[in-house]
Subunit: 327 residues, 2 copies
């Protein structure tokens, strides 16, 4: 049996040499890693930028997510925010801090996941720079860039009474996947367990995969913008919470048709981390790509389901929702 | 005595409401925080990007740095990387993860430091977005953007035999400041101590300030580019280590004149975190801004001092150099 290389064992420079060849190249990269900064093309004279951190404990469990899952999800969740502006992703920078006892394979796997997610979700998007550091808590901070291709960004604030409310992507599945992991991806003491998680994932690849390695409909962000979407956002905290944000920003009420929310509308409304796109379109718009109508935009405020006000969902607060466990 | 508000006590939304008004506005901001992503102007069709994480323990001690210092240094070190490309800073995105028991004043102070550093170092640069999360280790991840104003970036690889080697900014002072903190900013057991650190800082404001809240010569990055600098980088790991990088990238030897390195050339060569700019210029260039000649570019490789090869400095490896202590 061989002992795996650790970050502390081989050091920063050797670690970087093992990661770099695995990272995806960005077509927009004019100057890549290796200098004080990178240079990225922004052909229309603007760029879209979003940043999101994933932290061991509150955001993921190493017993549940493979290293590849972590890289994939870090890329996917940020690309989804770029798409939600009606932009196309161009590049990422990635800062990772990991304990020095971590196996090098952890960072290699994260790099593989970044590469595979870019290849699957938006080929041509790549990693143009980053930072590698040490921390007691594995932390992945991704900043993602996008190109609006000359269009106006699609904001949360543009929905008008009479618009169609539509979604592209699955609703509620990532939330069910997380519930399955909490229920069955644990040992007898209730702690996250890798073997149990592998088993529940093998039995429910789509549901658990939706949670651990989501596949947001990146191309539908541009498609929505081209079709005239009046407002759009990425569903990260759950349909109800995020729809309420859109309703508030636009000064409208969003009325869901329960029949369009699947067998379990409550699940569709309350499940988090869908990384689907919620958008509004002018009436009679031919909905683009994977978008399907799920309701209408009305005068008023807040949410409704079949005309009845919907008051559920308070949302995840990282400072109150995390019990300090890692796993 | 009142108990200070904590992040867990008031929650994420109230915390954001207290931070946002403190953040600096960016002149290049076309769309700021509040949507899925921000939109930033990139008037010449490109943008410069760099990212850097600061982590409690390996990168700072809360007994030594004030919250304002942390925000200041996070901004300053990233702006310096932008300047080292010959660009001018335009905007930052900032992701912060903090323990839920942290006082809200910690994040308010970090925001104040970000604002004050931008105002002091490059007015008009501001924070256009970010992410707030929870972690057992306070982590500040900054991604900074810059505008090349139509110029080519100044790389590390462009130095030629016969060029003048020059620096803008102080050498060795930040390293002395850190040594003072390790020697005198501690209690009887050798652990970082706030009262002791305040005392040593009051006695040595310039040296300790150079370590905790550096003031890199941001404007001199553009000035160097306009004056025809052939190569440039930010001195973060110490003059010797970083100069060796420039020498390797350019395929040249850098020969320092010890008389230009102050009373203690070894200190100037070995002290880390100067955040000064090292650049090379064609012979007979009138050195711009705060640049002063410290040597020459010669055929060969590596470093020399007064013609004698210099082999010191192995550098900081985060995975080997951190003993796991926070303080």
């Amino acid at each position: 049996m061989t002992v795996p290389d650790t970050l502390g064992g081989i050091g920063e420079i050797a670690t970087l040499e093992r990661i770099f060849p695995r990272l995806p190249q960005a077509a927009a990269q004019l100057l890549g890693p290796g200098d004080d900064a990178a240079v990225i093309a922004a052909p229309d004279g603007r760029f879209v930028v979003t940043t999101d951190m994933m932290i061991h404990g509150p955001d993921f469990r190493l017993a549940w997510s493979t290293p590849r899952d972590l890289g994939w999800k870090a890329a996917a969740s940020n690309l989804s925010d770029v798409a939600a502006m009606g932009a196309v992703p161009t590049a990422l920078v990635v800062a990772i801090a990991a304990p020095s006892h971590s196996p090098v394979a952890l960072l290699e796997g994260i790099a593989d996941g970044l590469r595979e997610a870019c290849a699957a979700l938006w080929p041509g998007c790549g990693v143009v720079g980053g930072d590698l550091s040490v921390s007691s808590a594995l932390t992945i901070a991704v900043t993602a860039f996008g190109d609006l291709e000359g269009r106006d960004p699609v904001l949360r604030s543009g929905a008008s009474e009479g618009d169609v409310l539509a979604v592209s992507g699955e609703l509620g599945r990532a939330g069910v996947g997380l519930r399955l992991l909490f229920e069955r991806g644990v040992d007898d003491l209730g702690d996250p367990d890798a073997a149990a998680a592998a088993s529940v994932r093998a039995d429910n690849p789509d549901l658990v995969g939706a949670q651990l390695a989501p596949t947001p409909p990146i191309a539908d962000g541009r498609a929505a913008a081209l079709a005239g979407a009046t407002a759009m956002l990425d569903l990260s905290d759950g349909l109800a919470i995020d729809a309420r944000r859109l309703a508030r920003a636009s000064g409208v009420r969003l009325d869901f048709a329960s029949a369009a929310l699947g067998d379990d509308p409550r699940l569709a409304l309350e499940g988090g981390e869908d990384h689907a796109l919620l958008a509004t379109f002018p009436p009679h718009t031919a909905l683009p790509g994977g978008f399907r109508a799920i309701g209408t935009v009305q005068a008023g405020d807040g949410l409704a389901v079949d005309g009845t006000p919907y008051l559920g969902s308070v949302g995840w607060d990282p400072y109150r929702g995390w019990n300090g466990a890692s796993g």
